[in-house]
Symmetry: C2
Subunit: 339 residues, 2 copies
Amino acid sequence: MKRTLAEGVVAGDVRAASRLMRDVDDGLPSAIPELQALHRRTGRALVIGLTGSPGAGKSSLCDRLIGLYRRQGKTVGVVAVDPTSPFSGGAILGDRIRMQEHATDPEVFIRSLATRGHLGGLSRAAAACVTVMDAMGKDVVIVETVGVGQDEIDVAGLAHCVVVVVVPGMGDDIQAIKAGILEIADVFAVNKADREGADRTVRELRAMLELRHATAGPTAAELLHHGLAAAGHGAASTAPAAPVWEPPIVKTVATQEQGIDELARAIGSQLAWLDETGQRPLREAARAKAEFLAILRERLLASALDRLERERGQLDEVARRIAAREADPWSLAEELVAR
Amino acid sequence: MKRTLAEGVVAGDVRAASRLMRDVDDGLPSAIPELQALHRRTGRALVIGLTGSPGAGKSSLCDRLIGLYRRQGKTVGVVAVDPTSPFSGGAILGDRIRMQEHATDPEVFIRSLATRGHLGGLSRAAAACVTVMDAMGKDVVIVETVGVGQDEIDVAGLAHCVVVVVVPGMGDDIQAIKAGILEIADVFAVNKADREGADRTVRELRAMLELRHATAGPTAAELLHHGLAAAGHGAASTAPAAPVWEPPIVKTVATQEQGIDELARAIGSQLAWLDETGQRPLREAARAKAEFLAILRERLLASALDRLERERGQLDEVARRIAAREADPWSLAEELVAR
C-alpha cells in the first residue's frame, strides 16, 4: 500500500513534506486528513517567531540562528512570511546567494509563503507549515514575519518565543512597536547595533517596558494568553495574574555574527522560564488557539464562498450588484452566516 | 418616533455617526440593520487609501491633504488604521498637537481603529467606517494604513485611489514595495523628498514599473480588479485586458507643504482616467468585493465561535484540548464548517 503524505512526513521525507505544504497552499481538500493525522505527531519542535520592520535585518539574524542551531546539532525549519525576506525570494541577489549555504543543508528545510492571494489564510498556511515541520522532526522552527499588521501578529501567536527585531535610530519604529508589537515580544534584538544610537534604542525599549509595568497594564504574557478571548470575543478571562516575564534586550550585529549566542541564550532562558513557572501549558494553549482560529477563519470563508457561487453566481457578479446598490454586503453576509 | 442611527448619520449627525461606529467596533448586532440601511445612501464619496511603512510620513501627508481639500470647500473623513498615526493616538505628542487644527473643524471627521483585538475584523471595521462617512456626506474619505500585511492590503482595496508613500534612501523599503505594495499603487508619493536620494528613489520606482510592464505581468489595475478572485478562489477571471494606468510618481515634503497640490492632481487624474476609460464600474466592483469579503470573513468567524462555545465550551478550553492533542484543530474547524 502506498504510504500517505503524512506517513512520508513523519518518516522525514522532504518531498512528501513539500508536496503536502503545496497542497495546503492550493487549498486541496485532501490535505486536511493528512494534517489531522500529523497533529498528534507534533508538539516536539521549538517554534521561534522572528518579526520586525522591513530592513531590520530579520533574515540575516535568521541565517545566523540557523547556523548556531546547526552547530548544536539541531535540525531547523524556516517558514518565511516576510515579503522582503531572501527566503521568500523578495530580497536582493546578494542576500539570496548568501542564504544558499543553508539551502543545500539537508537538515534545513525552508518554505516561503506568499503574502498575497490567501484571502486571509496566511496564518492558516503558516500554521500548516509549522505542523509539517514539527511532525517531520525539526528541532527548531523559525517563523519569519513582518511585524506590522494583524495577520502577522496572528502568525507570531504560533510561536513559543517571539523575537522582535528593531534597529537603532528609528524613533518612528519605536512608536510602531509601542502600538502593536510590544505586547507580543518575549525577546528584543536590537540589530545593526554597531550603528549610532544603539544604546539609546536599548534605553528607550527598557523605559517602555518599565512604563508598561508601572502602569499595571496587562503584561505581555497576560495579553498573549488571554488577549484574543478578552479582546475579541465576549467575557474577559478571569485567570489569576500570571507570573511576569521581563523581555531581555539583546544587541546584535547579524552581518558580523555578533550577539547571536546571547540572542539564543535569551530565547532559551524564556523557554526555561515558561517551564519553571508552569506557564508552558498556557502558552501551548495560546498557540493552539491562534492556530485553530486561523484555520477556522479561512475554512469558513472558503466554504461560504463556494455556497455563494452555487446559489448567487460568481463573486464578481455579486460584487457588481453590491456596487450598483442592488444588494448590500451586510445582508448578503448575514444571509450566508445564517445558514 | 425616535430616529434611527442611520437616519441620524444621513442627516449629518456626528454623534449618531460616532455611536454607530462604536457599535460596529463592539460587534453589536443592532449595527447591522443600520449599515444595511446606509448602504444605498453611499457611493458619493471619493475614497483615498494612504499607505506605506511606519515613518514614511503618511500622517503629515494626510494632514496636508485634509487642508487642501478643506480649502476647496470639501468635507473630509479620515479612517486611521495605522498604529503609528497621530490620528490613532500612536504618535509623539508634537504630532498630535499639530493635528488639533483639524480636530476642531466640524467638517473633518476622524475615526481611528485599533489594530489589535479585531480577530481579523479590521478591514470589516474600516469598511463600516467608510460607509458611515460616505453616508453622512463626506466628500473625501482618507483611509490611512500601514502598507505591510494582508489585512492592510485588504483595507487598501476599499479605496478608489491608493497612494503609496515611500521615503528616499531605503533600499529595503523598495524591496518591500516590490513584493507586496507595487500592485495596489495608483499613485506614488516620494515623501521627505528634500532628503538625499529622492531622485534615485523616483528612478528606482519608475524602473520597477517599467520592468513590470515589459515582462507583461498583470497590471496594477488587472490585479486589483481580478486579483482576489484569481488568486484565492478558483478559476482566474478571463476578462479582456484592461487599459493600463501608469502610476504617477510625485515628490512631496509634507512638513514644508511641498508637492501637495501635485499629489492631489495626480489623485484627480487617476479618477478622471477611471471614468474616461470606463474602468470606474470595475473599480467599484473591486471595492464592493473587498468590503463584502471583509464583512463575510468576520461575521462567519464570530458566528462559528458562538456556536463552538455553546456546544463545546469556552474557546480557551477548546484550545487547551488541542494543545494536549486530545483534539486536532483541523477536525474541529471542519466540524464547524460542515454545519
